[in-house]
């Protein structure tokens, strides 16, 4: 995030909204981030947080009459949002490539894997068909598919889930992209295969020097692979920091919630899980003020009115958070959470009058009030 180098991808104030019969869905709501060449950015969020729409927009895959997009996505001096379709096509699949979550539905069932790989190559290069086929075989070998000479003539259904995802990666790497966007690349896979795929992405990144954006809901995955992490909630980035820093000193109550609500192999077994109450908000009728306030244990009246900006943390200018709690209070709450103290008790730190009020109106509100 240093300012002396030019970022490969620079997203500024990106907004994406879809007009639907039910109303306008504000899928992405003013997010900014940049990716340096050769680094990995992790974008973490739940379903409906806008993480996939962000990357689809980068690839120009959300263009349509019912979509309104604003902001800029600068890639090597060109704004991907205003680029004509033909020029964008030169970049897509060539300089920026994408891996999708479900490898089976992203591969065409009627065409051989080799043919699909060759198509990607021939779309951007003036190679002969034979050369493209040779390159397809090399690519399959690169991503660790055994016996590539035979596999190149097989259909996707003859591949296992892990091999299909490898084939997808091969396809994405076909033209040596500068940026690889991986949207939940391992969600559909088993853990042992997930570990293989993550190791493969990391290894190829080192070898080819590309930048990677990895989108996932799994904090474990980003901890392994990302240099920095952006946490998204309801279409916004609520926290953005270096990976080590984010796990050591998270600042946003939503990030705390994510960290405390999953069982982990490295914490005492009987540690009580602290779920985040309620559920993700509708992106049509978003909550007022801080979008997280209906689920935040540390909410006070003003948080329901004031919309927090993503701002640097006083102790670290590269760590940004969108939270209205004072920094000192946040630090104290996180210390308490780490020590295993319950959120209800720590709420007192954020809202002094809460101690007296808890008896009258217990937090959390009764389940079902959000239905």
């Amino acid at each position: 995030m240093s300012t002396d180098a030019t970022p490969l991808l620079d997203v500024t104030d990106l907004r994406v909204a879809f007009t639907t019969d039910d109303g306008i869905v504000h899928a992405v709501d003013g997010i900014s981030y940049s990716v340096m060449p050769g680094t990995t950015l992790g974008i973490v969020g739940e379903s409906g947080s806008g993480k996939s729409v962000t990357s689809l927009t980068t690839m120009g895959l959300t263009r349509g009459r019912s979509t309104s997009v604003s902001g800029t996505i600068m890639f090597e001096g060109r704004d991907l949002l205003t680029l004509p379709g033909e020029e964008l096509r030169q970049i897509r699949g060539n300089e920026i490539a994408m891996i999708f979550q479900d490898p089976l539905s992203s591969l065409h069932p009627f065409y051989k894997v080799g043919a699909q790989l060759s198509e990607t190559i021939l779309a951007h290069r003036n190679d002969s068909k034979a050369a493209a086929r040779d390159r397809s075989i090399d690519l399959l070998e690169l991503v660790g598919i055994p016996d590539p000479h035979r596999r190149v003539d097989q259909y996707p259904h003859e591949f296992s889930g892990g091999m299909r995802q490898r084939a997808m990666i091969a396809m994405a790497l076909a033209n040596e992209p500068k940026l690889l966007i991986a949207d939940e690349p391992t969600t559909a896979l088993d853990v042992t295969v997930q570990a293989q795929i993550l190791a493969l992405i990391a290894e190829l990144q080192g070898r080819l020097g590309m930048a990677v954006i990895i989108i996932t809901h799994d904090l474990g995955v980003v901890a392994e692979i990302a240099d920095e992490i952006a946490v998204m909630y309801a279409g916004r980035i609520v926290e953005h920091a270096d990976t080590k820093r984010l796990f050591a000193a998270p600042e946003h109550p939503y990030t705390w919630g994510l960290l405390k609500s999953i069982p982990r192999l490295d914490t005492p077994r009987n540690e009580e899980l602290v779920p985040i109450q309620g559920r993700p908000p509708s992106l049509i009728n978003r909550p007022t003020g801080c979008h997280f306030h209906p689920r935040c244990p540390y909410v006070s009246e003003e948080h329901k009115r004031i919309d927090p900006k993503l701002e640097p943390v006083p102790s670290d200018p590269e760590h940004q958070v969108a939270c209205l709690l004072p920094a000192s209070v946040r630090a104290e709450i996180w210390r308490g959470l780490k020590a295993g103290r319950p959120a209800e008790e720590l709420r007192r730190l954020a809202v002094p009058e809460a101690a007296a009020a808890t008896a009258a109106a217990p937090w959390p509100p009764a389940e079902g009030s959000d239905a």
């Binding site: 739940e46 379903s47 055994p146 296992s160 889930g161 892990g162 091999m163 088993d190 853990v191 042992t192 295969v193 997930q194 570990a195 293989q196 993550l198 190791a199 809901h217 799994d218 904090l219 474990g220 995955v221 901890a223 392994e224 990976t243 080590k244 796990f247 050591a248 919630g257 994510l258 960290l259 609500s261 999953i262 069982p263 982990r264 192999l265 490295d266 914490t267 077994r269 009580e272 899980l273 602290v274 779920p275 985040i276 109450q277 559920r279 993700p280 689920r295 009764a366 389940e367 079902g368 009030s369 239905a371």
Partner: protein, 345 residues
Amino acid sequence: MTPVTAEPLVEVRNLVKHFPITSGIIFQRQVGAVKAVDDISFDVLKGETLGIVGETGCGKSTTARLLVRLLDATSGELRFEGEDMTKLKGAALKARRREAQMIFQDPYSSLNPRKTIGSIIAEPFVIHGMLKEEGERKKRVQELMDTVGLNPEHYNRYPHEFSGGQRQRIGVARAIALEPKLLVADEPVSALDVSIQAQVLNLLRRLQRDMGLTLVFIAHDLSVVRHMCDRVAVMYLGKIVELAPNESLYGFPRHPYTGALMSAVPVPDPTGTSHERQLLTGDVPSPANPPSGCRFHTRCPKAQSKCSEVEPPLEDKHNGTEAACHYPLTEAEAALRLPPALVAR
């Protein structure tokens, strides 16, 4: 937790489930079988939570369905309180079904979209002819909704009006309606958002404590299983490869496959991920044509010639850990595969 007695509630002996593969359109003949569950034996003790972990296709969901007899076993025994469930029929089977209930993975497809949740939760009473009086039944259903953390006023709503987490609660309410002795939960949280999973896990733990349930918890996520279970069975290609008390399994896994699973779990701690991964190569072989000898030998880093010839029995290795392996992991090898925080303990 309910005190775990050594007395078994369910005894599974040599249970087998093969799904036939047929060929031909009119005169179908069997050309093979998918050996989904292939000769497994274990006990579920009263009051405990038994976890079953494994990857896609290892037979864990088939085992779940066999336990509540949604599937009929090909061979083997399944004794529920001493009575062989596989031979029960008619009224006797129906009576037993009350005592073993199931929670399904997908909260979207396991609830009938045309029924109100009141009638979904009341259905077990209808089937078993209980609480025939309308008001009484409604009262009981609303109590159940309250127990699982749903607003009883939503009695007349339809499933689509609820979020994934709430639907899973509806599934739980339906499963506990008849106060079963055994609850089988098949991947109850894997379809839910991360922030919602803990709500359902905490609910299951609370219910187990309050109702003295025996729980069979099936999942592919080793971290979730560690959190929930007293004992854990690891399955691979239709076989149990390791069966151990929680602390032993996560402290000193003996089977190389368990070790590989542990090693592959991503730990959300960037400082703790420096440990060398013991990655498995290749994919899970087809259960229609499993490898000879030890089924894991094709991917096992410790495999030797004996492994492809002789099938290892599930036997006691140490401290109550049973593993089916000729060359189990040594302490040093196990330590290499565990996340550092588990080794330190």
